[in-house]
Amino acid sequence: MAEKKVGNQTVVFKNPPVVLAGYTVVGPKEGAGPLKDTFDLVLKDTYNGEKSWEKAEMKMLETSMRGAANKVNIPLECIDYSLAGDLLNQLVCSNFASRQIGLPFIGLYGACSTMALSIALGAMLIDGGFATKVLCSASSHHNTAERQYRLPTEQGNQRPLYAQWTVTGAGSLVLSDAGNGPKVTTATIGRIVDFGETDANNMGAAMAPAVADTIINHFNDLNRPSDYYDLVVTGDLGTVGLQLVSDIIRKSNLNIKNLNDCGVMIYKPEQDTHAGGSGCGCSAVVLGGYILNQMFKGELKRVLLIGSGCLHSPTTALQGETLPSIGHAISLEYI
């Protein structure tokens, strides 16, 4: 019946949707990192001329949505759906940015896995014949996340060495049924995996089993050799999570050499973020910036992105719940 589904969790697109372009907006800290030249717009400060950080994040997301469509000269009216998500309660940034954009909108919450999730669903909409052009976006902002999930931003505290730094950034991709560019060939929707991690600062450790589970199922469903991809990149595991995921998949008899993580790539060690970047914006800007650039240049031909999301809330954490996590994989290929 489901002719495009392969194995347990993977879909293989019949007419793989094309990624026409990506547009990325980042904050000043990300703009000082090693990938600074791959971003389209670097903000001078975290307020971006707005009265609050929430407004700044909404504006950032709106800018990235318009920028992506502009880049390929597609009027917004020609886009069938906008799929977007962020980290804030009620998805305020996505909802309010979409208020300005005026497109049919589907809000998604996948914590930091949102970018991969929006691309997977956007590709399904296109290959399913429900759309010809879809805008896939995600955003996060260090300060909005900090004040919602942790403490007031000026409150002094010592972050543990395994803590990650929420990326200030928004990324949008335009998917289309036709055109030139890398294609979204497959998507593996993840399962929620929880190995009992309770420390909300150690999100890499919470997410690693879920990401490893998705990677294992992706390769198993498609029966692809472990060296099939030029780059297997996880969303925001950070240094701790990346080490754990590579240990787990090795112990599970899968040997992937080109494994990296967007959260590790986005900051320099001197920037003192400890374990690296996190947040929806992390994989959104690294994918929309560095990875797409490398693909358009032909340096990378096959990339597997596994968006990693830690689906906790401060409320459930205080109630003693563990941190459930998820990983969604999408493969981008030149074919």
Partner: protein, 158 residues
């Protein structure tokens, strides 16, 4: 509750094994460095307090008790100003508990929510959330002082 019974194939590790893996990979806190930094930063703030007390006693002629109260108020003011300038969280980043425990840290925990929630208005923003950080400290500090006071009163009858 951790997940169990995932349909195979899945990761080849039990939650117990994973716990050990996480412990071996997660970086340990740099205890010695943190302790030294906390000693230096906390010690500096307390020495500053003593300097202020002496200043008030020598130059303003305040008696010791009043000079101590005035010095506490001065330190709170300094902590509040440094929070407003966005510097106090940097001090705590390096000094840890050395910056949190002194009264300047208390000022930080009051001023940072006030700054943070100003955008949500003065009544439900600042008013409603001013004590989000300091609230637990105040509640249990005051509650335990009441308990100690009652115990002290009761003990006096024996």
């Amino acid at each position: 509750m951790a997940t169990n019974h995932l349909r195979p194939p899945t990761i080849n590790i039990t939650p117990e094994e994973y716990k050990e893996m996480v412990q071996s990979v997660t970086p340990k806190p740099t205890v010695l460095r943190n302790v030294i930094m906390a000693f230096l930063v906390g010690g500096f703030i307390c020495s500053l307090g003593q300097v202020i007390i002496n200043f008030y006693m020598i130059y303003l002629g305040l008696p010791l008790i009043q000079a101590q109260t005035a010095a506490t108020a001065t330190l709170i003011l300094i902590g509040a100003i440094l929070t407003g300038l966005g510097l106090y969280d940097e001090i705590v980043r390096w000094g840890g508990a050395g910056g949190i425990i002194p009264v300047t840290g208390f000022a930080n925990s009051m001023v940072s929510p006030a700054l943070e929630y100003k955008r949500e208005g003065y009544v439900f923003g600042v008013g409603g959330k001013l004590f989000t950080v300091a609230g637990p400290i105040l509640l249990y500090g005051i509650a335990s002082s009441i308990v100690v006071g009652i115990v002290y009163v009761v003990l006096r009858y024996f």
